[in-house]
Symmetry: C3
Subunit: 147 residues, 3 copies
Amino acid sequence: MWWNPVGIWEQEVPPIKTLNIRTFAREELRDITHLVQGVVDDSGIADGLCMVYVPHTTAGVTINENADPDVVRDIIETLDKLVPRGLSYHHTEGNAPAHVKAVLTGNSISVPVQNGRLGLGTWQGIFFCEFDGPRNRKVVVQVLRNT
Amino acid sequence: MWWNPVGIWEQEVPPIKTLNIRTFAREELRDITHLVQGVVDDSGIADGLCMVYVPHTTAGVTINENADPDVVRDIIETLDKLVPRGLSYHHTEGNAPAHVKAVLTGNSISVPVQNGRLGLGTWQGIFFCEFDGPRNRKVVVQVLRNT
Amino acid sequence: MWWNPVGIWEQEVPPIKTLNIRTFAREELRDITHLVQGVVDDSGIADGLCMVYVPHTTAGVTINENADPDVVRDIIETLDKLVPRGLSYHHTEGNAPAHVKAVLTGNSISVPVQNGRLGLGTWQGIFFCEFDGPRNRKVVVQVLRNT
């Protein structure tokens, strides 16, 4: 679903695209690098900045290693040790730790775009962080053009 | 207080506005969503990216739920458990934990702007995070126009 | 090393510059403020946004106090308490804590640029966060022009 302005400047507005993601576990780090690169591809923007924004309060987004899946397991488990479910929280919906984890990871990341490619490091991938799944989630990808 | 360049390009420069905020407790998460939206409104920018920047080292900014105030209480209390005041720190001003908390939350957030509105999720608000108050604080809001 | 597009719009593209940094300890917060300001200077951009991006998965970047070096020591030591080396991790390269710390600090920061200067607060500096050194590292600095 692309946002399209009305009027003659339509083709001048860099795109924002909303991705729909289905998560399958309570906690899950999902590699969405290829989806984000797809939005950059469709934008036709060669040089700029790509911002990935998560419009949820119990999910986040982060960048880390996508080669060894054990890294992601360690991230999930360590966050769980830092913000355990067993503690007493005021928020009574049972997902208070998910809110705190979203604060710790943050809900947006930015990556330079060069020659039409995300300027990620060799081992880097972009991960949607589900902390209160499974759910249907949205991820907003915006590409800003260099001028 | 708006920054205005000198010269004929004045009207072309998207705004930066510095907000003054008074905090009233040592630790406090203050919902500043309406203030940030106000800067977006004043900017006249329909589509772009809004960046909120905290120029302090013992305060931060985060995005999380602004419906149930217990969520914010849980965030404050959990950060306090992670970085307790009782530990021994080198920095002797008594606010070492506030510095570390600012690192954990981060001192800036970015949100897409679409049709003149912050593209926040249903439950999201933007919170100034005071970790060493009460104080007079500044928050810088910048809106970058899509081109 | 500047990235230069081919063609007549070359002078219009705000710069991306890759800095090379050598770290000397396993964990180290290195003040790179002057290096980042140098890229802003070279860009000739008076007003915009500066984004600093770390293309590694065991290093990050943060903004905090650069006056008292004890603050940085406290940040390093507290992160070490939160994500200790002694725990059992799945990732077997011995640097699992470094990956998690990179998630906690984040791998990019944004700062407003006003009148050709980074809009940092009085006590703020930009720190490259080495969590798995010593190594040769890269830091990408991008300046986006206000339009």
